[in-house]
Amino acid sequence: MINLTATHEKNNVVCAIDVTDFDQGVVDLAATYAKYFKVRLELVHVTAAPNRGTENWPPDVGSPSRLIEESKLLDSVVTQVPTVVISKYHLSGLAANSILDFIDEQEPCLLVMGTHGRKGLAKIFGSVAAKVMRRSACPVMVLRQTTVVPATQSTPKLAEK
């Protein structure tokens, strides 16, 4: 489950996803670029490890059942973009650090990830995507999540009075 295969393929496209807050648009975008470059797509999901000394949320963080559940979710991820070879990696730890370690090892030509485009306080503390963007050695493509919701699925606007 939590393993890195020995293959050390350079110049792939890596796509970091969060299966608990899944966004098909990010995977499809990454697959589109992998297809253009004719390289493999590597999907990475990081399961949060429990924090030491602080309260954890959700309470079952790091538990085996959670790992298995997220592993199943990762298995179910597919893309509609044809002719793309996908390998999946399930890591455990702090999201940003794990992703950064992963791309240090894999040296991809491109990292694709989603973000929420937070405002306010989170803007100062930074999101996972912002952290990765600042510290990664490879180019990072960031897709804001609100953008990929198809118009048909968005919540209908309330009629104005």
């Binding site: 110049n11 004719k38 493509m141």
Partner: protein, 161 residues
Amino acid sequence: MKINKILCPIDFSKHNQIANEYASILASSTGAEIIYFHVTVPEAPYGAYGNIDPSDIMAKDMQRLRKVVPSVAGVSATWEVDFGPTAKRIVQFSNEHAVDLIVVGTHGRSGIDRVLMGSVAEAVVRKAKCPVLAIKPQASAFEPNAVPMESEVLNSGGESS
């Protein structure tokens, strides 16, 4: 998912060269058009926008901007200059012109610099509706196997006076 328009904001700093190279390679492998976009910032204290006629500076900036050309042969490009707050104008332009991807160079500020000075790239990532590709100056070489690399070395930027 077809990529037709790639927006490449240019501020005539050294970070633009690598962003331009990435944009060119992406454009050549996707068949997209590059839009070079410069936002003129008045050389006056903040709040003085209203008293300055930006057309002279914008014309000069347009001349400089025209020297920025795709580093890969056969890529079509257009040039645009606007005036005002940088990140806001970039996002506005991308929304109005249905841009599929923004490619920005970033200097990767961290710590107190980031909190106080911020970063145009991060602001664009947070607000843009389309994917944003952020490239740091030390980004590793971008050499996907299938992409033709016979590009001439970029001769842009003009004289930095």
